[in-house]
């Protein structure tokens, strides 16, 4: 009787799109202990960034993670611009906001699909990803690629949008809005979804704060933190208020993300409508020197870039702290006591991006 079940969960596991290993100790099917192990996807990007020049690094950091790629590049560029004391033209700031929010839409829909996959709701997975194709197409139309936009560069953005494209964006937003209206209230009301999410993986506001939770995980527990509130890029001019829930369970995390989907549409529309005219980039001069910590809000939460230049073309140190890295500690507080069937749901409820985490 003394011996408990010990099972590996991951790295190769169909409900985990990315390799993460959890060593689970079970009593019947209840999780008694869960310890994570990562490193299956560690490349050494931070070191490589020291070897490439700071312009190329924008493309490199974009590939930290394929889901929030644009915002990685944005964070990096904002950091370099701060070191170079570059003033980014307003139109570039607005375009960056537009693409950031598109990325958030694509990321949240993707997450919704994966979550549905984790609790065995294949149809929801299909519907979420079907809606996602709309925004992915939109990204391809505006930026020329489905996922790796490559649009953010030091000093601004690389491509301008014509008025027709902006109109197409608005039209797409309306279309997405209709699709969301079809999908989201239904998901929130669905009995089986509620059964699987309500009360599962709950953490209190205090735990979330102490353990350094960020993004929707923190906001679902009532920690009203969203770095967009600081008004980087064009967020300061668009009237941004973070979405907050208080329950702290998986359902609240879903509620936050689903509400953010609408918010993203709103932000894109507002940014397109207010889009100033003018140049889209300035040419960077000189080389970065000094230290700077650049932060933005990714779909998964706050991302932190520490940049240190030494006056040369190459950076002295580039450190990336991604939101999932911060959310693993809260995850460890959620897992013990849950059912094995809830493990993938809880893991996905932090929207893990292991690729980000390990760089």
């Amino acid at each position: 009787m003394a011996r408990k079940s010990v099972i590996p969960f991951g790295p190769q596991h169909p409900v985990l799109p990315e390799p993460l290993h959890l060593r689970l100790v079970l009593e019947d099917e209840r999780v008694v202990e869960a310890l994570p192990s990562i490193g299956y996807i560690h490349r050494g990007l931070e070191k490589l960034a020291e070897q490439k020049d700071y312009i190329q690094d924008a493309f490199l950091v974009e590939r930290t993670c394929g889901i929030c790629s644009f915002i990685h590049a944005l964070t990096y560029c904002q950091g370099i611009e701060a070191l170079l004391k570059l003033e980014v033209p307003p139109r570039a700031r607005y375009l960056r906001t537009v693409w950031s929010e598109m990325h958030r839409v694509h990321s949240h829909l993707l997450w919704l699909g994966l979550l549905a996959d984790a609790f065995g709701f294949e149809n929801l997975f299909m519907q979420a990803w079907r809606a996602r194709e709309e925004v992915v197409d939109l990204m391809e139309v505006t930026a020329g690629a489905r996922i790796m936009l490559g649009m953010c560069c030091v000093g601004g953005v690389r491509r301008d949008l014509t008025d027709e494209q902006l109109a197409a964006v608005l039209k797409s937003m309306d279309k997405l809005n209709r699709q969301f209206d079809d999908l989201i209230p239904v998901i929130l009301k669905d009995y089986s979804v509620q059964q699987r999410l309500r009360g599962v993986g709950r953490i209190s506001r205090e735990t979330a704060y102490e353990r350094g939770a960020v993004g929707p995980v923190a906001r679902a527990s009532g920690v009203a933190r969203d770095f967009r509130e600081t008004g980087y890029a064009a967020y300061g001019e668009l009237g941004f208020v973070p979405v907050v829930e208080t329950e702290g369970d998986c359902y609240a995390r879903m509620e936050v993300r689903l509400a953010e989907l609408y918010q993203c549409l709103h932000l894109v529309r507002a940014a397109v409508r207010k889009m100033p005219s003018g140049p889209i980039s300035v040419t960077p001069k000189g080389n970065p020197d000094g230290e700077y910590v650049s932060r933005t809000e990714q779909p998964r939460g706050e991302v932190v870039y520490y940049l240190k230049g030494n006056g040369g073309k190459n950076l002295d140190r580039l450190r990336i702290r991604t939101p999932t890295f911060a959310n693993i500690a809260p995850l460890l507080a959620m897992l013990p006591g849950c059912e094995l069937a809830d493990v993938p749901v809880i893991v996905l409820s932090i929207d893990p991006c292991i690729s980000c985490t390990e760089r």
Binding site: K52, I55, Q56, F59, L60, R63, N123, L124, Q127, R130, D137, E140, V141, T142, A143, G144, A145, M148, G150, R158, R159, D182, L183, V186, K189, D190, Y191, S192
Partner: protein, 99 residues
Amino acid sequence: MTFLNAIFRNLFSRPATRRYPFVKREPFPGTRGQLAIDPDRCIYCGICAKRCPANAITVSKTPSKSWTLDNYRCVICGYCVEVCPKKCLTMKQDYFSPK
């Protein structure tokens, strides 16, 4: 069970699927598909090779001039197109298909 609306709508409408190998969608005008070079205008300066973040391009001047792209390394960022002094590099819209 609230999913019934979507279910019956889908059941009684045409599938959303694009039957890909039989029906091909025209690429969007701005799509970055694959890199192409106009060899006539290339001066083999090597700037593209130096700037390429993925080191996918090699340019050699000796013994003979050559410009080589490793398509299995190129990340299709289009940076080389921007930096090319002669604008001899272009981005084609169709994607590079495996051999």
